[in-house]
């Protein structure tokens, strides 16, 4: 069965239910007597609530803030110096701070009826001036989003290293660039939602919720509801994508859970797309200004950056705003050997939905920052963008390398990856092509983006605790149990919502126990039955949960071998576990025989067997600094100077995520991540008018990539095993999404070079391209 272990492109075991319509998402759960919730939401970006008037005769079906007895506020704190915590009310009480903020919950016997009732609730407001953009937020006389803050700065972080003064003094070239990444929406195909009910037998409030972090949600919900965690069960069933959206304590979940406990009836809320586009437009929204001090050969001696993140109105729990500014700044030096650095990151609040990390989390911005800057240095010095990067890369012989921003990069061969990516798009041929005009009048451009992705990092000072957040992830657990008929159940604390954990962890089990993956169940997502991990996020599960699964399976080897040797009447040292059997010198027994002995006939077991038997619990402690995956992206674009349309003619990715457990799934993560990055680069933007009203509120306005948008990607892999992970693997989940905005921006700007214009803002829409070209010198245009 060599086709099933580490490195096998095993087609997913979980596909069957999804291909046959038997997935169970939150909206597929129907409980007898279920009530449906709809929310009354603020039509204003910033306003005081003067009065909430419930419709006559329906008062008992409408709940406002004052009705939620015993419910606290969502308060996310951080120990970062100067961090200002925000109280996020479950239902708005005195003020609303963004369009869509929930003010009241209406319950009906159907979703339509609940919406009818919600539409009858009257709310009187006193409108306040809105803080719409990060620039608005920073103005001296800006209205205050949080009245007791004094300003709209949530936290300001600084990072310094090396001797920047010396770098400045030695610089032959000083190059500065700014980049704006506009607000986006994670646009998971399944929106948010929950179904809560009270289980009288277990005295548990059971909350099914579309979520990627069941245990943190349980902890946070219990805190806000003022109940013990023991009596709150969170179940994340099948989840239709998350990317970071479904990773915080949500107002609606609190309300629905409270109502189910209070009314002793099941209550359900399923978010609709309009609601989602208004309330969940909560990712990206960054700006950075970066300066490079380079010598005459283009070596960057020092770098400065100023980052602003618009975090919306509140800090989510447990991920306070502030993380993104810190991450953007801390990764701004990229793959380059830059020895002096000064950075500042300011997170501001505004009258928009609370900012939430989304696939890539600040790295798309830092990648744009360092990659756009590298092209600028190349321009200033007069060398090729490929050459400037090769001159500045951390070289393979310098690994392991600690960056000036304290990233401990374990491994990487950036020059090989970049050169390979350039070869895959046939760079010399493209440069040749650029020498002559295209028959259709379009402009051809090439752009690169190289970056690392810090994955699977741990608790310690170089990991999550550096963020000073409320809930620091710790060890990652796994439980492995051999059943009475010789099959395997693995329970983990991660959550799979597309990543294929039911397959890859079975592959790990196969690698260690030789068991057929089709005889392995991988289960997760239920705080009452799954071991308490923190869920899936920051590209960690393969390494951390995978590591724990490996440990748990290894722990089962001893009892299996001991029982098997006893059944075979030979010495333990003389048996091997392979092919789903225990094999001795003169015979073998199936794992089913092992299971039968343990569960049915313990009288047949050997003396001295550990009474824990065939259930093994293990944990994995992540390597605190993380394991570093990396990629090189190369993009070739054609820009139509009349329409502003950008077409991707060719796109190559060379990725290194260490040992790939399942190459088919790794490719899926990269291609899928690329489509998100493509959306970031060219299509997706959550827009607001000057009053803070969202204007991309339907899928007709908010555009995301579809199949015809996708170029045929060229993918190659390098496998540099990580010394800090089982089997040498690294995380890869966010990798594909990080590079495209930078690679495509660089390519577009390479194409626009003859016109003397450039664009440093995403998405690079046709409208923005036309606007840039309109400013070009008339002579250049014709």
């Amino acid at each position: 069965m060599s086709g099933f272990g580490i490195g096998a492109s095993l087609p997913r075991l979980e596909d069957d239910r999804f291909l046959n319509g038997r997935g169970q998402f939150c909206s597929d759960i129907f409980l007898p007597g279920m009530l449906h919730a709809a929310f009354v939401r603020s039509p204003h970006a910033h306003a005081r609530i003067l009065r909430v008037k419930k419709p006559a005769g329906l008062e008992r079906q409408v709940f406002a803030a004052a009705d939620l007895a015993g419910v606290g506020r969502i308060r996310s704190t951080a120990t970062l110096p100067g961090f200002k915590p925000s109280d996020w009310p479950v239902l708005a009480n005195d003020k609303v701070r963004h369009v869509g903020e929930p003010i009241a919950m209406a319950l009906g016997s159907s979703a339509a009826e609940a919406e009818d009732i919600a539409a009858l609730v009257e709310v009187e407001f006193e409108e306040l001036p809105a803080v719409v953009s990060m620039w608005d937020a920073l103005k001296a006389d800006a209205p205050l989003v949080h009245d007791d803050w004094g300003n709209n700065v949530l936290v300001e972080l600084k990072l310094e290293g090396g001797d920047l003064a010396r770098a400045k003094a030695a610089a032959a070239h000083v190059v500065e660039r700014s980049f704006r990444m506009n607000r986006q929406h994670p646009l998971t195909l399944e929106g948010r939602g929950c179904v809560a009910s009270y289980d009288g037998r277990l005295d548990e409030l059971v909350v099914h919720v579309s979520h990627q972090l069941p245990v943190p949600l349980q902890i946070g919900l219990a805190q806000v509801l003022g109940m013990s965690q023991r009596r709150l069960r969170v179940i994340a069933p099948d989840v239709g994508a998350s990317f970071g959206l479904k990773s915080y304590v949500e107002s609606e979940t609190v309300c629905v859970a409270w109502a189910a406990a209070e009314l002793r009836k099941p209550v359900r809320w399923i978010q609709d797309r309009y609601e989602s586009l208004v309330c969940d437009a909560n990712c990206r929204d960054y700006h950075c200004k970066i300066t490079a001090y380079a010598d005459a050969t283009g070596r960057v001696l020092g770098m400065e950056c100023d980052v602003i993140v618009d975090s919306g109105a509140y800090s989510p729990w447990p991920w306070p705003a502030g993380i993104e500014g810190g991450l953007a700044m801390g990764n701004m030096q990229g793959c380059y050997d830059i020895r002096a650095f000064r950075g500042r990151a300011v997170n501001v609040v505004s009258n928009k939905p609370a900012g939430q990390p989304f696939r890539g989390v600040a790295r798309p911005l830092s990648c744009c920052g360092h990659e756009v800057l590298m092209d600028a240095v190349a321009d200033a010095v007069g060398i090729d963008p490929l050459e400037v990067r090769l001159r500045n890369f951390v070289q393979p012989e310098q690994m392991p390398y600690t960056s000036i921003t304290k990233k401990m990069i374990d491994s990487g061969d950036y020059p090989t990856a970049l050169k390979r990516a350039a070869a895959m798009i046939d760079l010399p041929a493209i440069r040749n092509r650029q020498r002559n005009p295209e028959t259709d009048g379009r402009l051809i451009g090439v752009g690169f983006a190289c970056f690392y992705e810090q994955t699977a990092y741990g608790t310690g000072p170089f990991g999550y605790s550096a963020w000073g957040i409320e809930l620091v992830p710790g060890m990652e657990p796994a439980v492995a149990r051999l059943t009475g008929d010789g099959e395997l159940i693995i329970e983990v604390g991660s959550h799979s919502h597309g990543q294929g954990h039911e397959t890859v962890f079975a592959q790990v089990a196969h690698e260690i126990l030789g068991i057929d993956p089709h005889k392995v169940s991988v289960r997760f997502g239920d705080t009452s039955t799954s071991p308490a991990g923190t869920g899936t996020y920051t590209s960690r599960s393969m390494v951390t949960t995978g590591g724990a699964v490996a440990e748990a399976c290894r722990a089962l080897q001893a009892p299996i071998a001991k029982i098997g040797a006893h059944l075979l009447q030979c010495k333990e040292d003389d048996v091997q576990i392979r092919g789903g059997r225990v094999v001795g010198p003169s015979g073998n027994v199936e794992l089913a025989a092992i299971g039968r002995a343990w569960y049915h006939h313990p009288e047949e077991l050997p003396d001295g067997l550990d009474p824990t038997g065939l259930t093994a619990t293990a944990g994995h402690k992540a390597h605190d600094p993380g394991v570093f995956a990396y990629s090189a992206h190369a993009a070739v674009v054609a820009v139509d100077p009349e329409t502003g349309g950008v077409e991707i003619l060719d796109y190559a990715i060379v990725a290194d995520c260490g040992k790939r457990v399942n190459p088919l799934l790794v490719e899926g993560q990269i291609v899928g991540g690329f489509s998100n990055g493509l959306g970031n680069a060219l299509y997706e933007e959550s827009t607001y008018d000057e009053l803070g009203q969202p204007t991309a509120t339907t899928l007709a306005d908010y555009t995301a990539p579809t199949a015809p948008s996708m170029p045929d990607l060229k993918l190659e892999f390098i496998e540099t095993p990580s010394p800090f992970a089982a089997f040498g693997m690294k995380g890869i989940g966010e990798n594909g999404a990080i590079g495209p905005p930078a690679a495509i921006a660089n390519a577009v700007n390479d194409a626009l070079r003859p016109l003397g214009v450039a664009i440093f803002e995403t998405p690079i829409t046709a409208h923005r391209v036309r606007a840039a070209i309109a400013t070009a010198r008339p002579k250049a245009r014709s």
């Binding site: 339509a112 329409t643 502003g644 015809p708 948008s709």
Partner: protein, 273 residues
């Protein structure tokens, strides 16, 4: 979201529709394929108390030649046009346009009549029918009338269709054998509404030359000077000047001029090749 409460009635014939509309108020809407109205209902941007479904009336789904016109029933779907089920009187222009509308699942239900009655200016049929000189037949409880597209549509998402009227036919004049057309569309993504779409039809045998520019949120714009330049035999340069002149008379943002000019030029070149 779910629609506001409503009453659904299925009409069994055109006479039945007219009868049902006799007492119609502003709160009554006709629904055919529901691809334009459906989203509005779900978003509660339209809350009619009554819906009259005309999509099950066979005679409204037919298209046939009547004299020099193709008379298209209002419930003919975009997919029927795409699949070439209609007699081709436009040298493939209608089939070409149909294929670019939204997606197949939408085309299977969406209708030409529905699209015209909904009057989203970026919708492909509005500009196409205007460019072809199509006329729309309406029947009310008292009389019938025939309107040009520009008469039918009086603003974005707004028509002159009275509460008691229903579109009974869209009449597309048959193009002569030597007629040519050009169609150029720029959208963010395949299937989206166009940011800019130009359609040019040159049918010298019928002395019919038309050019229409469709944009978002603006009614389709005729291009009179371009048409005049095309009508008289002339050089390309004069046509380009005429296009620029037409564009100047429209309210267009500076950065969009190049886009619209490009679409019109490309459509014109295609029609005069």
């Amino acid at each position: 979201m779910k629609p506001s409460p409503l009453d659904y009635t299925r009409a069994s014939s055109l006479d039945h529709v007219v009868e049902l509309l006799a007492n119609a108020t502003d709160e009554t809407r006709i629904i055919a394929g529901g691809q334009s109205l459906g989203p509005l209902l779900n978003l509660r941007l339209a809350s009619p108390r009554r819906l009259i479904d005309i999509s099950h009336i066979d005679e409204l789904r037919r298209a046939r030649i009547e004299g020099t016109d193709l008379a298209i029933g209002p419930c003919v779907t975009h997919a029927q046009v795409e699949d070439g089920e209609l007699p081709d009187v436009t040298h493939g222009l209608m089939q070409h346009v149909a294929r670019g509308i939204a997606y197949r699942a939408v085309r299977n239900r969406g209708t030409i009549g529905g699209s015209l009655a909904h009057a989203d200016p970026a919708a492909d049929w509005i500009a196409t029918m205007a460019a072809l000189g199509a006329r729309v037949q309406l029947r009310g409880c008292r009389d019938e009338r025939v309107l040009e597209i520009e008469e039918l549509i009086n603003g974005p998402l707004s028509t002159v269709i009275a509460p008691d009227e229903v579109i009974t036919s869209i009449r597309v004049p048959r193009l002569s054998s030597g007629a040519r057309w050009g169609h150029s569309k720029f959208a963010r993504k395949l299937g989206d509404f166009a940011d800019s779409m130009a359609i040019v039809v040159v049918d010298r045998d019928r002395s019919f030359v038309s050019g229409v520019l469709a944009r978002r949120a603006e009614p389709p714009a005729r291009l009179p000077r371009m048409i005049a330049a095309l009508t008289a035999p002339d050089l390309q340069g004069a046509i380009d000047d005429a296009i620029d002149s037409d564009l100047k008379s429209l309210r267009i943002e500076a950065e969009d001029v190049r886009l619209h000019r490009a679409m019109i030029r490309r459509a014109t070149r295609e029609a005069t090749r």
